[in-house]
Amino acid sequence: MKKSAASLLVLLIACGDRNEFWDTPLGSPQVIGLEGSVALIDAPADRAFLLRRRGDQLLRQVVPVGRNLVASAATPDRRRVALLAAGDAVQDEPDDPAPQLTLLDAPASGDATVRVFPLEVQHSGVALDPRGEFAVVHAAPNAESGWQLAENPNELIFFDLRTGAHVTRSLRSFGGKPKRFTFTPPLGLPGGARRLLIVETEQDLAFIDLEHLDRPEISVRLTSGLDARVVRPEGVVFDDGDPQRDDDTRVAVRVDGGGDVITLTLQPAPNTPNGFTPFINLASVGGTVSDLSFVQTDAGLRVAALVPAARKAVLIEPDTSRTVDVDLGASLSKISLAGGDPNATTASAAGDVALLYGAEGSSSVGFWSFRQAPERPYRTVEILPLPSAVGAVYTLAGRPNARIAVGASSLFVLDLEQRTASPLSTAAGARLHVAADGGRMWVYQPNGTELAAIDAVGLGLARVQLQRTFSSVFDVADEGGGRSLFAVDANSGGAVTVVDALNPNPAEQLHAAGLFLTDAP
């Protein structure tokens, strides 16, 4: 199809004055599945197409997204998308496209609302709050293009998406640059519940009060300064503790450069701008930690740390740094807590079983009943060998005790409660899309025409043959009820095939093609 676009280009090249859009390669447009639509980013034309279905109609909304799109982010509920455009590299004319942040609010039905926030200087990264209340524009050089001409890596622009207000501030730096952002839900902190942004730099942590952006951040330096060793944060988890208390919010940090887990208790500090200060603890776990989670055990709150090289998990008591080793019998690097409320802010709301999976070369998963592990660390893990290594694990909406584990040529529906693994064989290179409603999964091969619809509960399988090739699929809500599968071939000038997702009927397919070639500037 690229060839078609090229032909079209040749055909039109003699048409005189024209927009540079026509000279821009199509590249690999980005596709974002939303709750009730699919967004196809037509970057050369500085626009996005939002496609949704209403009955037999395929509705289209065209949204300008700015020049030179460099980053995007979507909320987990797929209702809000942030698109960051760098604008023209050289701003020598007043009308030259300037840097901007575009925010799309895409409801389950109806047109998306669009908000545009002009930016004064170019930036390369955007982090979007999972709750959709805040966005942070920052520097995030990509491997291909590197930094913008000049960027202050510690400058952050905070957008309060509830009010539209924005604040620019530079993080206090001790040589590090931000590399990861974690937005917390409201936490019970001294002075009242509020949300925090935890910024991981290359060697520090920073806590920023999202409700009081005028307050200075709290910087936690992870290097002792006694030698040249650099301790890099590699991920944070948090727990709000007892809802009735405001002094027991905890954050755990896994680090690169030592076998330590750092736990921080946010305790009252009345005479400080933020009203709290981190109380630091280190726990030695005897190896590099690959994943962390707070877990609620019968002995109280613990941090569960996986140490794949030692084939063990370590339970850390955050108040005392006492540790208990749990022999896993396998090298497992990821932890996924079962059950409970996925939006809960404390481990006590989660279940008491965790799925352990995914380490290089490991073809096992583990079901870990951690409740009694601090007192009885033996016989709490059941290892389930699988035919192939698990590369990714998906959750299913509405089924907190189920996980989909994807291997090289198979996938497994894991029941954490029953400790079963139901295998489904897939062709090599197949991809998986899990419907947001948790009802079904779609298995397909990019650039093919065939799909397999798998019922997530009964594992019933149905084949769906489409009339056109596609590169990715999205199971989205229809306006007025029902769900549709959008099969998108973004490389062919913007083509999409749509079928009913709940009762796919190959005879009833909707098509749209050449989207990127329509309404050209």
Partner: protein
């Protein structure tokens, strides 16, 4: 290095307990006398004098020394970073303060405007006085003699003496006399180096702080503090035959007013009493060899234990100097006793032995010895620690061959049964106030570390496992918090709420001090 940490700490405990009249240990470490007042706050305690087995290593080598507490402040030196960590026991916030090169040995300094400590900097051969005030930390530096590793601080806080305890340097050659000590006048900022006798064993001050004295292997040297600069006075020999007197088999105890010294020698049925003002010496003969000697905190009475005859001799001080035969002998019938601890603020002498596996503690009211009482215990005694009020005591029991250990809490003021509490590892450190006791357990080989907290009024005991080997224990009484510092490369201390038992551990003193919250930098440059 690892062993030296324990060995160093081991001596500190003897100083700690005798400073505060909290009893002592029936061991080689009872040899020394008080290292001076003000070196620790009441309720603090360092490791017990249990030498590490050869080759034993601390699991996580700590960069930090054992802490010192002053008021609500807990201070820990880090020789590697050159800083002293200050932990506010009320808020548990940490800050670090630059000291000299290689800060190690700390002592609290009373009488200053704020909490203050003085720390020896081993590599830069000086000492840093650190005072915390509302305005921040104030530091001043004093040159000190080489090898200094111990402190004696006067009760007023005006004078401090840095000296070298050869027992902390076990590999030192015989030609190293450790004879230099440094007298610091913290009111004038002066520092004076003086040479005393061979290998000092203890340093102290008289009650009026007009003199300091150093007990050495050559005798007791007095230092005049009344002039503008400290001046060496005479050396009072402890024996007429200095070549025949083995300094390693004798105890020397100096009275609080610095006027007299009492000398006990192993196997000798006599006590020498020296008048330090003129060097006069009197021999007090007793019916049997003296196995232990303790001096009452106010210096008015000394008790000598005569193991072979099951007796104690109660010597009035200083009257015994003029009337060496005029003392009271008290029989302790049918009891084997070899050691004595005088309970402070009472007239009770606590008698026991750890030379043989005896399971009892005998309490003798010195005012009415006939009313002696024996408390039955359920394990052999290792050592006894009396609370400051003298109403309670903690008895540590010997570790059995099977590795079983325990301690007992004894009510001294009431004839109640002793409360024994088993430990899972040998007791390593004890801290004691009138209300609570903290006993830290430590077994590096098995990785068993814990703190047990006893409520003395109710005799209730609760055990709290620790994450790493304890180094020292203490109690900040008015905050109702206990703490146990632990060996950890980044520094670790666990605080316990004495009312609720809730614990909180702080690990990473340097990191804790480097939190920047928008108000302070944390570190004081």
């Amino acid at each position: 290095m690892k062993i030296s940490i324990r060995a160093m700490s081991a001596v500190v405990i003897a100083a700690t307990w005798s400073s505060w009249g909290c009893g002592g240990m029936d061991s080689a470490y009872s040899d020394g006398e008080s290292a001076g007042a003000g070196d620790r706050s009441p309720g603090s305690g360092a490791p017990l004098p249990e030498p590490a087995p050869p080759g034993e290593e601390i699991e996580a080598e700590s960069l930090y020394e054992a802490p010192v507490a002053t008021g609500h402040s807990i201070w820990v030196a880090n020789p590697k970073s050159g800083r002293v960590a200050h932990i506010d026991a009320a808020t548990l916030t940490v800050s670090t303060i630059d000291a000299g090169d290689g800060p190690s040995h700390l002592a609290g300094v009373p009488g200053r405007a704020g909490d203050a400590v003085i720390v020896l900097n081993e590599r830069s051969q000086d000492a840093t006085l650190i005072e915390r005030t509302e305005g921040g930390a104030r530091r001043s530096t004093y040159p000190t003699a080489a090898h200094a590793n111990s402190w004696a601080v006067a009760r007023s806080g005006r004078f401090a003496v840095a000296w070298a305890d050869a027992r902390l340097e076990p590999g030192a050659p015989e030609t190293e006399g450790f004879q230099e000590l440094t007298v610091l006048d913290l009111s004038t900022g002066s520092s004076t180096l003086l040479a005393v006798g061979y290998r000092p064993l203890s340093v102290g001050f008289d009650a009026g702080e007009t003199r300091a004295h150093a007990v050495t292997q050559d005798g007791i040297v007095s230092i005049d503090l009344t002039g503008g600069q400290p001046v060496l006075l005479d050396n009072v020999p402890l024996s007429d035959d200095p070549l025949g007197d083995n300094p390693l088999t004798r105890d020397v105890t100096v009275t609080p007013d610095g006027a007299y010294a009492l000398v006990r020698r192993d196997g000798e049925a006599a006590i020498d009493v020296l008048r330090l003002g003129d060097g006069a010496r009197v021999r007090v003969d007793v019916p049997a060899p003296v196995s232990d000697l303790d001096l009452q905190a106010d210096g008015t009475r000394a008790v000598a234990v005569l193991r072979d005859t099951s007796q104690i001799a109660v010597l009035p001080v200083p009257a015994i100097f003029d009337a060496p035969t005029d003392f009271e002998l008290v029989d302790v019938p049918e009891r084997t006793v070899a050691s004595v601890v005088l309970a402070p603020a009472t007239d009770l002498a606590l008698l026991y032995t750890n030379a043989t596996p005896v399971k009892s503690l005998t309490l003798v009211p010195l005012a009415s010895p006939a009313e002696l009482r024996t408390v039955r215990l359920y394990s052999p005694v290792l050592g006894v620690f009396a609370a400051p009020s003298g109403r309670n005591a903690v008895v540590l029991h010997s570790t059995s061959a099977e590795g079983l250990a325990a301690f007992s809490v004894v009510r001294l003021d009431q004839p109640l049964p002793a409360r024994i509490a088993a430990t899972e590892a040998p007791p390593f450190a004890v801290a004691l106030t009138d209300e609570h006791a903290v006993v830290a357990e430590r077994d590096d080989r098995r990785g068993v570390f814990a703190a047990q907290i006893a409520t003395l009024e109710t005799l209730a005991v609760a055990r709290f496992p620790l994450a790493s080997p304890p180094l020292a224990a203490g109690i900040v009484a008015d905050l109702r918090r206990a703490y146990v510092s632990q060996a950890h490369p980044d520094g670790r201390i666990t605080f316990f709420d004495l009312d609720t038992g809730a614990s909180r551990t702080l690990t990473g003193f340097e990191l804790g001090a480097r939190v920047v919250d928008g108000t302070t930098q944390g570190e004081t440059p």
